[in-house]
């Protein structure tokens, strides 16, 4: 593998990511300009004194021509200044960084559940195509693929939480079980503090939210992976492998699965963004904190800078996640390597 071609590819992808981020920032700048009302007033809130409004006007450079404002805006972004929330009086970036680990934790566990359920099921289903498991799992995939996330969350919360008292119905941890807040993600904090009881408690609190979030995405991975596996299993290439005398298991695992991973990885990558978007629903039902809940509160309070700051933040996160997925694909799949680096 030529190092130069890897480097060139990396630079190109990085360049694309930066371009997209720049586009995102410009879009948000446009939105700020289009919002009705006085921008300085929006920055400091409706209760501010005329002096504070004037100070904001100076700071944001609102008397300068638009192009200067735009450059100022970009320079502020690069420094991490997303503005100040008018309801919490804190810098928006600080607020988001405080709650983001919680959302990341939720999405990570959901992705874990997603793959842990979908991948083995798809393998078993593809292996015994047309069998009982295949039929029933495909049926389940159809049903769960159509259930609204928030509705499933409510039903799970009611049945497993309220009626059968198996799992907690809201929050991150029970009173007194929380480990000291280091990252903001309850499970990680418990892990870092080596507090196993707290960890178990945090896991119990995240179980239902993660499952509710994962369900729909799990059906997508299941169908895609299964279809991909079947495609490989029925291909001419596989006939050759079988002719060589490989066992069914070997055929499946050594050949079919690796060939299907790339496409599934790509799908999982796009699901990340959708999961972050849907986190607002889960966080609402289970009273958890996170960027979704934060943004929702900001919208309710017309905290414009918090809203737009959230948009930039989340957009940037998803952008970077897409970059990581692309790089992972490069590592995992020689065909992608050849395609991307070969030219």
């Amino acid at each position: 593998m030529a190092v130069r071609s890897i480097l060139r590819f990396l630079l190109m992808r990085l360049g694309q990511t930066i371009l997209t981020l720049w586009g995102l920032a410009s879009l948000v700048f446009l939105m700020i300009k289009l919002l009705p009302g006085d921008e300085a007033q929006m920055a400091v809130g409706a209760e501010a004194s005329p002096e504070q409004i004037e100070a904001a006007r100076q700071r944001l450079g609102l008397d300068a021509p638009v192009i200067i404002q735009y450059l100022l805006f970009l320079s502020r972004l690069v420094k991490g200044d997303l503005g100040v929330s008018i309801s919490t009086f804190q810098p928006v970036l600080n607020d988001l960084v405080a709650v983001f680990p919680s959302t990341l934790e939720l999405v990570s566990f959901a992705m874990l559940v997603n793959l842990a359920v979908a991948v083995p099921s798809a393998i078993v289903a593809a292996n015994k195509r047309g069998g009982a498991f295949d039929g029933s799992s495909r049926f389940m995939a159809v049903i769960f693929g159509g259930l609204p996330v928030f509705w499933l969350a409510l039903m799970l919360q009611y049945l497993l939480g309220t009626v059968w008292r198996l799992l907690p119905i809201s929050g991150h941890n029970a009173y007194g079980m929380g480990a000291p807040i280091l990252t903001g993600a309850a499970t990680l904090d418990a892990l870092l503090a080596l507090d196993w009881v707290a960890l178990a408690d945090a896991l119990r609190h995240i179980a239902l939210p993660a499952v509710a979030l994962a369900a729909l995405f799990s059906t997508q991975i299941f169908r895609a992976f299964r279809a991909s596996l079947l495609g490989v299993l029925t291909s001419d290439f596989m006939m050759a492998v079988r002719a060589k005398g490989a066992t069914a298991r070997r055929v499946l695992l050594r050949h079919a699965v690796p060939n299907s991973v790339t496409a599934t990885l790509a799908l999982a990558g796009t699901q990340f963004g959708a999961m972050v978007g849907s986190s607002v629903l889960i966080e609402s039902v289970f009273a958890r904190k996170g960027v979704g809940a934060y943004m929702f509160n900001a919208v309710a309070q017309k905290d414009s800078f918090a809203v737009l700051g959230s948009v930039i933040f989340i957009g940037a996160v998803v952008c970077i996640a897409n970059l990581i997925v692309d790089l992972l694909q490069l590592v995992v799949d020689p065909r992608v390597r050849a395609a991307q680096l070969g030219n």
Binding site: M31, G130, G146, V149, L154, Q157, S284, V307, I314
Partner: protein, 282 residues
């Protein structure tokens, strides 16, 4: 129809039981959208507060909600808010996606690159987040939710269509037509696009399936349809406090959303299988 490169598959005109079921379901849903508000009694938006949260009975087949309104008829009427909006959104952005994809594929390289960067941007923003942002700017309403979903939906469609168009363009029959001197534009509209239609329709159906869920979700958290709209997500939100005591207020609209989403999802599957019978399962 324009000339296609696919061998004319023997179209089985008969419907399998599953296909028939799905089709019947879709017809029912469309009937609800079209005729629901006409058939429903006027009391669908009228509060009869003393009869709130009544269980299902002969008079109210699915009980009453927290304002005393008949749940069954509200579900019927709500189809228009939820499903029609979803159909509108997806059709709209599919058209935008096709247009963008065509321009990108047929136009100069720099245009293609620019448009692809714009789609990158579109794909970086989850639709829920954009909908929240738009709700902040324009106020919470079904309209702002629809605009937001239309804005975030087209990039993926554009990307997929562009790939399909390219693939089709490289097929032999097209270069054959080019040799014969057919113009690029004619090539696109008469030969390439119709072949891409298959993919588009399947995607359209699957997109309606997911858009119904997202729209309901937006109304659930309060940035979509507002009272007294019978939109299904809003109904679930209103019934949220009563899951334990009046389950019909949550289960009925939830089932409605699920059935709609599943039906359109299955529709997509059916069309896909019909297009490419090799995908048919046992």
């Amino acid at each position: 129809m324009a000339a296609t490169s696919r061998p004319k598959a023997t179209r089985a005109l008969a419907l399998s039981p599953l296909e028939g079921f799905v089709l019947a379901l879709l017809l029912l849903l469309l009937a609800m959208v079209a005729a629901g508000p006409i058939l429903a009694p006027d009391t669908v938006y009228t509060s009869d507060i003393v009869n709130a949260l009544q269980p299902p009975s002969a008079e109210h087949w699915l009980g009453t909600d927290d304002q005393g309104r008949d749940v069954f008829w509200r579900v019927v009427v709500g189809a228009r808010a939820t499903l029609l909006s979803a159909l509108l959104v997806v059709t709209l952005y599919s058209m935008i996606g096709v247009a963008v994809a065509t321009i990108a594929a047929a136009g100069p390289r720099w245009l293609d690159e620019t448009l692809m960067r714009i789609t990158d941007l579109g794909m970086a923003l989850p639709s829920m987040i954009v909908a929240l942002g738009l709700a902040a700017a324009l106020g919470a309403s079904l309209q702002s939710a629809i605009i937001a979903m239309s804005l975030t939906g087209w990039p993926i469609t554009a990307r997929i269509l562009r790939a399909v168009i390219r693939q089709t363009s490289e097929a032999q029959f097209v270069s054959g037509a080019q040799v014969l001197g057919v113009s690029k534009w004619r090539l696109m509209t008469r030969h390439v696009l119709p072949n891409s239609l298959d993919v588009l329709i399947v995607k359209w159906a699957s997109d309606v399936s997911t858009t119904v869920l997202v729209l309901a979700g937006l109304s659930f958290i309060g940035v979509g349809a507002q009272p007294p709209s019978a939109e299904w997500g809003a109904m679930i939100a209103a019934g949220r406090s009563y899951v334990a005591t009046a389950w019909w207020t949550v289960v009925a609209p939830g089932v409605a959303v699920a059935v709609t989403s599943i039906a359109f999802g299955l529709l997509g599957d059916i069309i896909q299988v019909r297009n490419d019978p090799s995908l048919r399962e046992a």
